[in-house]
């Protein structure tokens, strides 16, 4: 990496009594990145962000902000700030006073504060007459923008987000996700966002860190995490997926477990390789599984029966029961939909470039 990271975590560990919430987290965040930390509840992501903003101290480890050690520095001394899950707007203050709060704390004069608040209202597409509005008069989406404006008024080195969109309805959330990404481009600030929603992470982030039981399972760009997950956990967490247990057999070939996986050709040719006797998981995303014409061939083949069809808007999803009783998920665009009926026998196939091997560790 050419430039020094804006934030570096070294071996961040947090213990609550006998329970270890974070197991020595290491992470470098480059300047201007939009990093999203995703994990199910209890994965330690909230503990981590509390430590990052200074609301909690790590049991062990170091945090470096542009070369300065900050892990014991109280929150009000750190040049970072956070948008809270609850937004934590001040109910007794107007929109303008909320936005100006960090400037008032620094002793900035009223005229200057007001000018900055007006700029921020513009930046967040809020009308200027909102300056005198009460927080209680604002809608959920407007409050979101006020909270963002307040955080930007602080002019933080890094802006942290603790699932601020989780309480909003679906459509508003989608709109704000895109606005947030846009805001990231326009401000050039480093954003660190935590969420349990993968969709949110995929839409907005430069990189995604998947967290599980106090460790990072994988940190990568969204495409890589989606196509090349390092574990079954990540594969499942990143949406619908078909997983098959496989084992390395003699002559570099693969042997399928659970479902009948026909592999045409040598395993070595496919670029997927397991040592003999070693187990792994073969992954294929539902949109890459094809309904095979009679006589057609493919690298991997599964025989099954169509059990159910679901309409997902622009796509159709199919639930297919394989010969051994396990279930597969297939997704097709509406225009490519399956023309048979529920109960029909089907042959599914996909080629190796769409398959990914997760090796057991």
């Amino acid at each position: 990496m050419s430039t020094e990271p804006v934030l570096r975590l070294e071996n961040i560990t947090k213990k609550f009594g006998n329970f270890t919430a974070l197991h020595g987290i290491d992470l470098d965040i480059p300047e201007g990145e939009f990093l999203t930390i995703v994990g199910p509840s209890g994965s330690g992501k909230t503990t981590l962000i509390r430590i990052l903003v200074g609301m909690d101290e790590p049991t062990d480890g170091a945090i470096w902000l542009r070369g300065q050690r900050i892990e014991r520095m109280p929150a009000n001394k750190r040049p970072t700030c956070m948008v809270f899950q609850s937004l934590a707007l001040f109910p007794h203050r107007t929109v303008g006073q909320n936005i100006e709060f960090p400037l008032k704390i620094r002793g900035v004069k009223l005229a200057e504060r007001k000018a900055r608040a007006m700029e921020l209202l513009d930046l967040l597409h809020l009308p200027q007459d909102y300056y005198t509005k009460r927080i209680t008069q604002c809608s959920g989406g407007e409050r979101q923008r006020v909270a963002l404006a307040r955080a930007l008024a602080f002019d933080p080195e890094i802006l942290f987000f603790d699932e601020p969109l989780s309480a909003l309805d679906y459509r508003l959330r989608k709109t704000l996700e895109k606005e947030l990404k846009d805001l990231h481009h326009r401000t050039g600030k480093t954003f660190v966002y935590i969420t349990h929603s993968l969709e949110e992470a995929m839409v907005m982030s430069d990189r995604i860190a998947i967290m599980k039981e106090g460790r990072f399972e994988q940190i990568d760009v969204a495409d890589q995490i989606y196509a090349r997950p390092v574990s079954n956990f990540v594969a499942r967490f990143m949406g619908e997926v078909n997983l098959f247990e496989i084992e390395g057999a003699a002559n570099n070939t693969l042997h399928g477990h659970g479902v009948e996986v026909h592999i045409n050709g040598e395993a070595a040719d496919l670029g997927i390789k397991l040592d003999q006797g070693k187990r792994g998981t073969l992954m294929v995303r539902p949109e890459f599984v094809q309904f095979m014409e009679v006589g057609a061939t493919s690298d991997f083949v599964v025989h099954g029966i169509m059990r159910e069809e679901y309409a997902l808007g622009s796509r159709m999803q199919y639930d297919i029961e394989a010969a051994d009783g396990s279930r597969l998920t297939v997704e097709k665009l509406r225009e490519d939909r399956f023309l048979g009926q529920v109960g029909d026998k089907v042959v599914l196939g996909w080629d190796v470039e769409h398959a990914h091997l997760i090796e057991e560790t």
């Binding site: 609301m55 009000n76 704390i105």
Partner: protein
């Protein structure tokens, strides 16, 4: 549905309304009528002449009134300052220990105010617990700690402590924790969090606690009599004297009306400044 509930509400309030009219409004009207009667009459069926108010203005009753209001003000300020840390702890920090404090403070109310004050008299008087021990141990004595203005204020603070503490704790518990955390995160020092977040958001509790303490302290009698001796004469003392020793009901009534007007005005002003629904838990 809502109309039925509204009628039920009125119906349920009837007993309290009747009691309030009989025990609160009616005596107030009698007092108001007596205050405009000629001096030293014992019936309201005389020609009103407002002479009691003239007496009130011509004599030095304003001194008693000012003493009462001043001591009530000082004791309320002291009460606020000493109650805040404990109330904050009860609302935000202590968790289960809060219950123990609550019970301990409420228990003091089980013993009559006068008995508790006599306890302090025995403690503070010359030859009492403090001075007596000091003299016995060192041979040097002093005049005792009673009969001055600070000891009266101490008595007011001591007696009206629960009336400040509990509303304050209730007010502080309404401050959202995340607002405090966000303020800190945005760079506010502890002092700035206190001034910008805690005090404005706890305002309903502060107003209720201060009004209760102030109103009770302004009308207090026992503290100045028992602890203060004849140091100052408070307005409640003057009212009592007028009604009993002085046998001048109109004068006593006029003094009461003046006191009630001042305190009532203050209470209405204070209550109008904050949203009481919030602290009373009404849903909007």
């Amino acid at each position: 549905m809502e109309r039925i509930e509204a009628r039920h509400g009125l119906f349920a309030a009837t007993p309290v309304v009747v009691v309030l009219i009989l025990s609160f409004v009616a005596p107030l009207i009698v007092i108001a009528l007596f205050s405009i009667m000629p001096q030293k009459v014992f019936s309201v069926l005389n020609m009103p002449d407002f002479s009691a108010y003239k007496t009130l203005l011509s004599e030095a009753y304003y001194k008693s009134l000012l003493w009462s209001l001043w001591m009530a003000f000082v004791s309320t300020v002291i009460l606020f300052l000493i109650s805040w840390p404990l109330a904050f702890g009860m609302a935000k920090v202590f968790r289960r220990f809060t219950l123990i404090i609550t019970i301990a403070v409420v228990m003091t109310l089980f013993v009559s105010e006068n008995i508790r004050l006599f306890g302090w008299v025995l403690t503070l008087m010359k030859g009492g617990l403090i001075e007596g021990h000091l003299r016995a141990l060192t041979g040097v004595g002093f005049d005792g700690l009673l009969y001055n203005v600070p000891v009266i204020i101490f008595g007011l603070v001591y007696v009206y402590f629960p009336f400040m503490l509990f509303p304050l704790a209730q007010g502080i518990s309404m401050i959202p924790d995340d607002a405090r955390q966000a303020a800190t995160d945005l760079g506010a020092s502890r002092w700035q969090v206190l001034m910008e977040i805690d005090i404005p958001l706890a305002a309903p509790g502060i107003v209720v606690g201060s009004l209760l303490s102030f109103v009770l302290a302004a009308g207090a009698l026992a503290e100045s009599k028992l602890l203060g001796g004849q140091t100052v004469i408070v307005i409640a003392d003057e009212v009592e004297t007028a009604f009993t020793y002085g046998q001048d009901w109109p004068l006593g009534s006029a003094l009461s009306i003046v006191l009630i007007s001042i305190i009532g005005g203050l209470a209405i002003y204070g209550v109008s400044r904050v949203n009481l629904d919030e602290i009373m838990g009404r849903k909007r």
